[in-house]
C-alpha cells in the first residue's frame, strides 16, 4: 500500500512528475503523425470554453458533448468508445464508476489497484522513467483522453505533454474537490459515454455514511480534528483543509478541522516540528497515510494519542476517489467522532 506524499502543488510527486515536459523530440513528431492519423477517425471534434459548466453530458443525433471540471465543453460527432486514462487518480475514479479504458496508467503507487481493475487487454501507457509513453498511447487509438485537473485549473499531463492533445480531445476531471463532486463527475462522464454505472448502490451507502458523520459531528461541535502524516524524521505535516478532497468533504459535513495558516494559497500542509506536536490544538488525530504510526516519543505524549483519540484508517488508497473507498472513511470517522471527547487537546498552540 502506498503512502501519500503531501507537498505544495508545484512539488507534488504526481504519478507523472517524471514527464519529460514539452520537449520537441522525435517522440513528439511521431506522436504528432500518429495523432493526425487518429484524428482521421473523427469526422469532427473540438473543445470550447464558451459555455459554462453544465451538469450533464449528452449524446444523440447531434453527436456527443461533455462539459468537464474546467468548464470546457468537448463536442464530438459521435460518442467516443475508446477511452484513455492519463493519470492514476482519474483511472481509479472512473474504473470504480464502471468506465473501462483502452489505455491507462499505473505508476505503482497503489492508487489504481485500490479499485481492483481487470486490465487484461488495456494498454499500459506509463513507464517509471518517462511518465506517459506517448507512442503507446497513440497505438491504443483512443478517441477520448481523460486527464486530471490541477488546483490551478491546468491539466496534469496535457500541460506537460501537449502532444497528447493531438491524439484525441481531452476531458478534465478535478481531484481537488469534495468526494461527492469527484465521484459525481466520474458517474456523469461514465453515464454520458453510455456505460452502465458499476454499483448504483455505492452512492447511497456513501450518502448514508455521510449522514452518520454529520450527526456525530453535530452532537459535539467543539471536537477538533487534525489530519496528519509524517514528512521526515523531524516534522509531521498538518493537512490543509482547503486543499484536500477528503478534508473538503468532511468540512462540508460540519467537522471542525485544524486550520493551516495561509491555507488559501494551495499549501498542501504545514510542517510542524515534533517539539510542537503535543501543543497542537486537536482532540482527535487522523493518521492520513498508509505509513506506519510514528514511534517518536513525543507522539505518545500528545494529548489526543494519550487519550486514545487516534485513528489510522485502513483505506486501500487515499487517492482512489470512489464512493465505496470513502464510505469506509466516513463510517470510521463517524464511529471515532462519536466516541471522542472535546477538550482533550490544548486550547491553543503554545
Amino acid at each position: 500500500m502506498p503512502s501519500a506524499i503531501h507537498t505544495r502543488p508545484r512539488d507534488t510527486r504526481s504519478p507523472l512528475s517524471a514527464l519529460p515536459g514539452a520537449r520537441p523530440s522525435r517522440r513528439g513528431l511521431l506522436a504528432g503523425g500518429l495523432g493526425a492519423a487518429a484524428l482521421l477517425g473523427l469526422t469532427a471534434c473540438g473543445a470550447d470554453d464558451s459555455g459554462g459548466p453544465s451538469t450533464a453530458g449528452g449524446s444523440g443525433a447531434a453527436g456527443w458533448s461533455f462539459t468537464d471540471d474546467r468548464g470546457r465543453t468537448v463536442r464530438l460527432s459521435r460518442r467516443p468508445k475508446r477511452i484513455a486514462f492519463l493519470t492514476d487518480t482519474v483511472g481509479a475514479a472512473l474504473w470504480a464508476a464502471g468506465l473501462h479504458p483502452v489505455a491507462a496508467t499505473d505508476s505503482g503507487q497503489g492508487i489504481v489497484p485500490a479499485v481492483k481493475p481487470d486490465w487484461s487487454g488495456v494498454a499500459k501507457i506509463y513507464s517509471a522513467d518517462k511518465g506517459v509513453r506517448i507512442e503507446a498511447l497513440a497505438q491504443a487509438r483512443p478517441d477520448l483522453l481523460i486527464d486530471a485537473v490541477q488546483p490551478d485549473g491546468t491539466l496534469q499531463v496535457a500541460s506537460q505533454l501537449p502532444a497528447v492533445t493531438k491524439i484525441a480531445p481531452v476531458v478534465g476531471l478535478s481531484t481537488y474537490r469534495s468526494i461527492e463532486q469527484i465521484a459525481g463527475t466520474a458517474d456523469r462522464l461514465t453515464g454520458s459515454l453510455g456505460v452502465r454505472l458499476a454499483d448504483t448502490g455505492a452512492k447511497t451507502r456513501y450518502e448514508e455514511a455521510g449522514s452518520r458523520l454529520r450527526k456525530a459531528v453535530a452532537a459535539d461541535k467543539e471536537l477538533r480534528v487534525g489530519f496528519v502524516f509524517g514528512i521526515d524524521k523531524n516534522t509531521i505535516g498538518v493537512m490543509n483543509p482547503k486543499t484536500w478532497a477528503v478534508l473538503k468533504t468532511v468540512s462540508a459535513l460540519g467537522m471542525r478541522l485544524l486550520p493551516v495558516p495561509g491555507g488559501a494559497d494551495n499549501t498542501y500542509s504545514q510542517a510542524v516540528s515534533w517539539e510542537n506536536v503535543p501543543s497542537l490544538p486537536v482532540d482527535l488525530l487522523v493518521w492520513a497515510v498508509s505509513d506506519p504510526l510514528p514511534d517518536n516519543p513525543l507522539w505518545k505524549r500528545t494529548p489526543a494519542v494519550r487519550a486514545g483519540q487516534l485513528w489510522k484508517p485502513d483505506l486501500s488508497s487515499w487517492y482512489a476517489y470512489s464512493w465505496e473507498n470513502f464510505t469506509v472513511l466516513l463510517d470510521g470517522l463517524a464511529t471515532h467522532v462519536q466516541s471522542a471527547h472535546a477538550g482533550v487537546g490544548p486550547r491553543t498552540t503554545s
Binding site: S107, D232, K233, N234, V272, S273, E275, P297, L298, T349
Partner: protein
C-alpha cells in the same frame, strides 16, 4: 605504525634554545586555540539543549535535565534535544576527522568523505533494506548502512589499489567517484521503480539529527570511537606522508599500512556517521580547511581541531534548522550546505587554501 613524527611547521630556524622557546610558544597558542574552540562547542551544546522549535524556559530545561520526564517539555528536552545534540557532536567530530583523513590520504584539497563511496554505499544499502524488508527502523537501518559503507569502501580500495605503496591517491579518488556514481544510479533505479521504497527512503535521504532515539547514539559510538582512535594514531605517519611517498618511506613510515589503516578509519567514521543520521555533505570538506587555517598542516593538531570544529558546525547548523522554520524544522543536512557554503567560499577567497 610508523614512528616518525616530523612536523612540517614546527621546524623553526635558529639556535636550539630559541627554537625550543618558539615551539613552546606555538604549542601554547595552539593549545589555547583548542580550548577556545572547545568552549565554543560547549556553548553550542548548551544552546542546542536549551533552544528549539518550541520555546521552553531555561529553568524548565534545567529541571528536565536534573529530574527527568515529568512533563511534555521535559520529554522534548530529554527525548528530542539531548539525543540529537549528542549525535551532532559525535557525527560532526567524525565527519571533520574523516575529512582530514580523506584529504591527507588522497592529497586532494577537494576530497571529502563521500569521495570513497562510503556515503553512497550506506545510502544504497538502506534502499536495499527498505526494498526487501520494508523497515525504516533506525536501529535496523544502522547496520545495513554500516555494511554498505564497508562494502563500498572495500570495493573502492580493491579497484584503486595496485603496487606496494597501497592505492595511489588519484586512482583511489577515481575509483571512489566511479563506485559512487554506480551506487547513485542503483538508488535512482530502485526508488524510481518502487514508489513505496521512495516514500520510506525520503525519511533517510537527507541527513538529519532529529528523530533518532538515544539507542542509535550508543550503537554507533563504539565504531566512531574506534575510528577516531585509529585516525588520531595515524597523525604522525600522515605528516610524513604529506612529504611524498619516497620521503615518508625514508623516514620509516609504512606507506601502504598507513593508507590501509587510514581507509579503515574513514570507513568506520563515515560509515557509522552516515548510518546514524543519513548523508551529510560539506562538513567533511569544509571543516578540515577551516581547522587548517587555525593550526597549519600538522595532523597532530589538525585532527583534534577538526573534530571540535566539525561537532560545533553540525550542532550549530541543527540549531539554526530548528529556529529558522518554526513551527517546523529544516534538516541539518540542508542547513550545513546552505550556511556552510558561503563561509567556505569566503574562506577560499580570502586565504590561500593550504597545499597538500
Amino acid at each position: 605504525m610508523g614512528t616518525a613524527t616530523i612536523s612540517t611547521t614546527d621546524v623553526v630556524p635558529g639556535t636550539d634554545g630559541e627554537g625550543r622557546r618558539r615551539r613552546t610558544a606555538v604549542t601554547a597558542a595552539r593549545l589555547l586555540g583548542l580550548l577556545l574552540v572547545c568552549a565554543l562547542l560547549a556553548l553550542v551544546t548548551v544552546v542546542s539543549v536549551a533552544v528549539g522549535a518550541k520555546a521552553i524556559p531555561p529553568g524548565e530545561v534545567l529541571r528536565a535535565l536534573l529530574h527527568g520526564r515529568a512533563s511534555v517539555d521535559d520529554s522534548v528536552v530529554l527525548d528530542l534535544r539531548l539525543p540529537r545534540t549528542l549525535l551532532g557532536i559525535a557525527v560532526g567530530a567524525a565527519l571533520g576527522l574523516a575529512g582530514v583523513l580523506m584529504q591527507a590520504l588522497t592529497r586532494n584539497p577537494l576530497a571529502d568523505p563521500g569521495l570513497l563511496g562510503v556515503n553512497m554505499g550506506a545510502s544504497a544499502a538502506v534502499v536495499v533494506a527498505i526494498a526487501l524488508w520494508h523497515s525504516t527502523d533506525p536501529s535496523f537501518c544502522v547496520w545495513f548502512a554500516f555494511a554498505g559503507a564497508g562494502l563500498a569502501s572495500a570495493l573502492v580500495h580493491l579497484l584503486g589499489s595496485r603496487g606496494r605503496s597501497g592505492p595511489p591517491p588519484v586512482r583511489l579518488a577515481l575509483a571512489g567517484t566511479a563506485v559512487s556514481a554506480v551506487l547513485s544510479a542503483l538508488i535512482s533505479v530502485v526508488t524510481l521503480l518502487r514508489p513505496d521504497v521512495f516514500d520510506q527512503f525520503r525519511f533517510w535521504g537527507v541527513g538529519s539529527l532529529g528523530g533518532q532515539p538515544m539507542s542509535v547514539v550508543t550503537e554507533v559510538l563504539p565504531f566512531l570511537g574506534a575510528g577516531a582512535l585509529l585516525a588520531l594514531g595515524l597523525s604522525g605517519p600522515l605528516n610524513t606522508l604529506a612529504l611524498g611517498d619516497d620521503t615518508a618511506r625514508a623516514l620509516g613510515t609504512g606507506v601502504r599500512r598507513t593508507r590501509l589503516l587510514g581507509l579503515l578509519a574513514v570507513t568506520l567514521l563515515c560509515g557509522a556517521a552516515t548510518a546514524a543520521v543519513g548523508p551529510i555533505a560539506f562538513v567533511g570538506l569544509a571543516v578540515p580547511h577551516l581547522a587548517r587555517t587555525l593550526t597549519g598542516p600538522d595532523h597532530r593538531w589538525l585532527m583534534p581541531y577538526a573534530m571540535v570544529c566539525g561537532a560545533a558546525l553540525l550542532v550549530g547548523s541543527d540549531i539554526l534548522g530548528r529556529v529558522l522554520a518554526r513551527p517546523g524544522e529544516i534538516q541539518a543536512g540542508i542547513v550545513t550546505a546552505f550556511a556552510g557554503a558561503p563561509v567556505f567560499i569566503a574562506l577560499v577567497r580570502r586565504r590561500r587554501i593550504a597545499e597538500l
